[in-house]
């Protein structure tokens, strides 16, 4: 059984086509043969009727009442007649003194179909050979007489039947072959046309996987609609499971962080933790919680629905938030990007990546933070440049590793850059840090364009 659906359909259709054409070829050939044979039989029967006049009621034969019309008079023509009875033998001139050899009287048996009904006084067919040894087709009539039965035979060359049959069959088979080719082409076209919805559906599933569409959207063909509905249910279930997982992560965060905060406050009471050992442990737990929650968030985009997230709106919102978080550090944020630029990432992940980078830039900038973005091919490159003191090259490579933190001024937790890098890489992009023209750090993140 072929694995491919189109091969299955092709195999079934091909077998059916070959069988149909073979049956047609045999059927038509048989009909033609009967048609030709019928004409020949009528002519032989006419000759038998003429010769029958030479048989008298008493069984004797009257030579004078027979006529030899062409082609029965020419020797070797293959056309001949013969009368055999108790009263002697009469032969056509074409026979000379030889007999017709009856080879296969039983082959055709009685007539398979006779519009006049079965009758003993009608000629019956047989195969035989003429004196020259060539195949002949014959008819024989038995007449009862007073002295016994008389046989009247008339034969014609087999060739007379086979030549027109052959002449008709060659163009017939050619036509059937052409018909077969045309039908095969039609089958291939039908397969392509008929199976096209499957190709469309597969492309749609790809688009869902790539986040370009949320659901499969097909109104035809009706045979595929149940499958489309089932796939959409599956997509919804996936999405719900993802949302639930995210909800669990958020609940875990809330559940762990609030008691941690209370613990930290308790330890801050003078005398509770004189050597700072307990506070250090709380700090460790906090770092682990943050790290793993960050990772859990970063691990989700592969399965999530990623639609076009407008860049400008998210950058503006983040800048408004950062201006308040760092209200005492008046930094001017200059945004240079097209308003219609969008990336193919989850909006929450866009906030997470850009929020971390902008927050970092804000901490280091002296007066200005330059944010620019442009599309290059399939990617959008977003550059965030501060005019701060910059970093040594070794530190540039180090800070995007988990837990490394150079900034001791704020409440940065040291995971921002590494999470941002992981997220960017999950989307097939990347994060690079470099020293800019004004000496500050330039963080460039590449994300898939939408």
């Amino acid at each position: 059984m072929p694995r491919s659906l189109s091969r299955r359909l092709l195999a079934t259709a091909s077998i059916a086509l070959v069988v149909a054409l073979a049956v047609a070829a045999f059927g038509i050939a048989h009909l033609l043969e009967r048609f030709v044979m019928h004409g020949l039989d009528e002519r032989l029967d006419a000759q038998i009727a003429v010769v029958t006049r030479a048989v008298r009621q008493d069984g004797t034969l009257d030579r004078a009442r027979t006529i030899d019309v062409p082609p029965f008079d020419a020797a070797g023509s293959g056309w001949a007649w013969e009368v055999r009875g108790p009263g002697g033998v009469l032969r056509s001139a074409s026979l000379g003194s030889s007999d017709i050899a009856v080879r296969d009287r039983e082959r055709h048996g009685p007539p398979r179909f006779d519009p006049l009904g079965p009758a003993a006084d009608r000629p019956r067919p047989f195969d035989g050979r003429d004196p020259a040894g060539d195949e002949v087709h014959g008819r024989v009539l038995r007449l009862p007489t007073a002295r016994g039965g008389v046989e009247i035979l008339a034969v014609a060359p087999r060739d007379v039947v086979e030549r027109p049959l052959h002449a008709a069959l060659v163009p017939l088979l050619g036509s059937l072959l052409l018909l077969g080719i045309a039908l095969a082409v039609a089958i291939l076209a039908q397969l392509r046309f008929g199976l096209r919805p499957l190709v469309t559906l597969r492309a749609m599933v790809d688009e869902v996987r790539d986040g370009e569409r949320r659901h499969l959207d097909a109104t035809e063909p009706t045979e595929l609609l149940p499958l489309v509905a089932a796939l959409n249910t599956l997509i919804d279930a996936n999405e719900a499971a993802l949302a639930q997982a995210r909800g669990h992560v958020a609940n875990l965060a809330h559940g762990l962080k609030t008691p941690l905060a209370a613990l930290r406050l308790d330890l801050a009471v003078p005398g509770r933790d004189p050597d700072g050992r307990l506070s250090a442990q709380v700090e460790r737990i906090d770092r682990h919680v943050r790290h793993h929650l960050g990772r859990a968030r970063a691990a989700t985009p592969a399965g999530s629905v990623r639609l076009a997230t407008p860049l400008r709106a998210h950058v503006d919102d983040l800048i408004a938030a950062l201006a308040r978080i760092h209200a005492d550090r008046p930094v001017r944020a200059v945004v240079t990007m097209d308003a219609d630029l969008a990336v193919r990432c989850d909006p929450q992940d866009v906030d997470e990546m850009l929020g971390n980078l902008l927050d970092n830039g804000w901490r280091w900038a002296r007066t200005t933070l330059d944010i620019s973005a442009e599309r290059t091919g399939a990617m959008v490159h977003i550059a965030i440049a501060d005019d701060g003191p910059g970093l040594a090259n070794a530190d540039l490579r180090r800070v995007i590793k988990p837990g490394v933190r150079l900034d001791e001024r704020g409440d940065g937790h040291g995971f921002g850059l590494s999470i941002t890098r992981e997220l960017a890489e999950l989307y097939g992009g990347r994060l690079e840090l470099a020293i800019g023209a004004v000496g500050g750090v330039v963080a460039t993140i590449a994300l898939p364009a939408s």
Partner: protein, 222 residues
């Protein structure tokens, strides 16, 4: 300075209240969104600390309703939700600052003081009035160059007058910002506190405006 803390975890709420009182703040605690929203609507606070995941009503809805009702008090969101999307949503709802749990007490205190100072219109943290200096970042008062020792009530009254120096503060407004909702005024009546302050920073420094309230005299710089 009077703070409203809306936090549903009793241990954390208690810890925050204790730490803020140690820094002289008057603290009211609400354990759910409904109570918190109501307190913020009806009482006078200098700043509010608002959790997001609250029973009965979420913090964002409480905040949005305050802002829709014209309440301008500075609000610091204190939450476990550390995603940037949550921060953006918080600021869009009208928050002034955002702090993620767990946090350092000093960080919370510093941010609350900064919020109160900025709300009073001071861009820098050190405020002067004659020989009196107030560092709104550390909460320290200095008089004639020396640190001034103050009780919690004295500190609340003086910081309130200092942040609005030269302006008459209504007696009722001052009272609201000095006493926690659940504390008996007792011997610490406003008149007694003002009297003690006058002994520490000079009788002329605080003017009594009869029938209205008090004003911290802000002599022009020499």
């Amino acid at each position: 300075m009077r703070v409203l803390v809306v936090e549903d975890d009793p241990a954390l709420a208690e810890g925050i209240a204790r730490a803020l009182r140690a820094e002289h703040f008057a603290v009211d605690v609400a354990g759910n969104g409904e109570d918190g929203g109501h307190l913020g609507d009806t009482e006078a606070y200098d700043v509010a600390v608002l959790d997001l995941g609250l029973p009965k009503r979420g913090g964002l809805s409480v905040l949005a309703e305050w802002r829709a009702g014209g309440r301008t008090l500075p609000v610091l969101i204190l939450t476990a939700r550390d995603a940037w999307t949550d921060k953006v949503l918080g600021f869009k709802a009208g928050a002034d600052d955002y702090l993620v749990k767990p946090f350092r007490v000093e960080e919370l205190v510093m941010r609350l003081r900064a919020l109160v100072r900025r709300a009073a219109g001071h861009a820098v943290s050190v405020i002067r009035a004659g020989a009196l200096t107030f560092d709104a970042q550390t909460g320290q008062f200095e008089y004639e160059g020396l640190p001034l020792k103050l009780t919690a009530f004295e500190w609340r009254v003086l910081s309130c007058l200092m942040l609005r120096k030269g302006i008459v503060i209504e007696r009722l407004a001052l009272l609201e910002r000095v006493y926690q909702g659940d504390v008996d005024v007792g011997s610490n009546s406003l008149e007694v506190i003002v009297g003690r302050l006058r002994r520490k920073i000079g009788a002329a420094a605080i003017e009594t405006i009869r029938g209205r309230g008090y004003r911290l005299v802000d002599p022009p710089c020499v």
